[in-house]
Symmetry: C2
Subunit: 226 residues, 2 copies
DNA sequence: GTCACCACCTATGTATACAGAACCCGGAAC
DNA sequence: GTTCCGGGTTCTGTATACATAGGTGGTGAC
């Protein structure tokens, strides 16, 4: 694997996992020595992360991991609504019903799934990821899929703030079920509206969880990664 | 100005202006010597262009300028519809009516404008660009604005294929007028639907112009830039 | 005559060295 | 005490050298 890819993937997952929290200064020499690559591939990795919106140049401190504010989340969801509604619409028009029928059966089984031993809900998040993949596959539009992938990167990072409880996940599964059924039935408008509602509810839940413990991300987080 | 910025802007405008047509192979050494910068900043420029979708790595020939096929245009417009409708909606909700009232008056005057001496229609395209800027300003959403800006890069490149005649521009101006009035009136749904119709008509016109002289972009365009 | 293999060459990927600019700290003057 | 200036240090930006991989062309064998 190329050194620049290695640096990019490592930094990306560290940022998403909050091992590198918002505000972390990413000096080129620090990171290149830490990751064991030279500055040239590291710069490429940082450029890609900047394009992703995970890092940004702050006034006079160089590159820092971007903050996740309440406003950011709202803005992100405005874009997300536009893109995911369109994706749902197109998936309903073009998707293979059999694929979404199979996913429907899995979403029906989610309440039972959530009772099982899986503290991190990995099985559930895996199912949602497979739904996303199926939609990406169905829309067959590289531009749209790329935009959605970029967006999901941010959403995974934000998910850490959500404190998803069992009740919310059960509700989300019901919302997903409506979406999947609409896509399987080829009803594009229903799929779009179901997606709209799902995102509306997800944003509500996210903001409710985020406004309370806001101290987590704000304030002078001057931590440096070493 | 940084050498990498210089290389990026130069290559970007050359690709958009069709001076570097689709299929052109962009070797690192060729371009770095041609542009008078070293390979390091040039690689950064190429990475940015790749992220923009203007160049892509092709099988075994390295980086090439991306092709513009009919399918690409359709896919691009699917994303565009999603993002611009959302932008129009948000602009109607948040925009300053005075700004869009002023633009409305300018769009009313377009038929007269098109009669003037301006073979390249620069004045008209300028007005559309100012409308885009006003919408960007009104939506006040950096993620959405960034996505729209990236999209418009491709659209400017495609415009070269459109052969916009006076009739189409007059029609487009009427469509824009409807959009601007809806935004100024704060009617988000009307703004979204007017945008939808405008994009539908624009795509129709583009495809009609593009399917006939398709030989312009296809075929073995093995040209090399030197 | 065609196909396969080998060698050379050119391209990309990486490391490092150097230059310039910006920031920080200390000192001095008002 | 505060502010401004200067030196030093550290960072980014750029250039270049080197290594490796992949592609191409030529030659030989079947």
């Amino acid at each position: 694997m190329r050194a620049s890819d290695k640096a990019y993937r490592t930094l990306r997952s560290e940022i998403i996992d909050w091992q590198l929290p918002p505000g972390t200064v990413l000096g080129e020499v620090d990171q290149s020595t830490r990751l064991g690559v030279s500055r040239t591939p590291l710069r490429e990795a940082l450029a890609r992360l900047t394009a992703d919106g995970l890092v940004a140049t702050q006034a006079g401190r160089g590159l820092v991991v971007t903050d996740v504010s309440t406003d950011n989340i709202r803005e992100l969801f405005e874009v997300r609504r536009a893109l995911e509604e369109q994706a749902a619409r197109l998936a309903a028009e073009r998707g293979d019903p059999a694929v979404f029928d199979a996913l429907e059966r899995e979403f029906v089984a989610v309440p039972a799934l959530l009772e099982s031993e899986d503290p991190a809900r990995h099985d559930y998040y895996d199912l949602v990821a497979r739904l996303d993949d199926a939609i990406d596959d169905a829309v067959a539009n590289p531009y749209l899929v790329t935009a959605l992938r970029n967006l999901r990167t941010h959403l995974v990072r934000i998910r850490r703030l959500a404190r998803d409880d069992k009740d919310r996940l059960r509700e989300a599964a019901r919302e997903h079920l409506t979406i999947v059924r609409a896509i399987a039935a080829g009803d594009s408008e229903l799929a779009a509206h179901a997606t709209h509602i799902h995102l509306h509810r997800a944003l509500e839940h996210l903001l409710a969880a985020h406004t309370a413990p806001t101290a987590m991300t704000t304030g002078p987080t001057e931590r440096t990664a070493s």
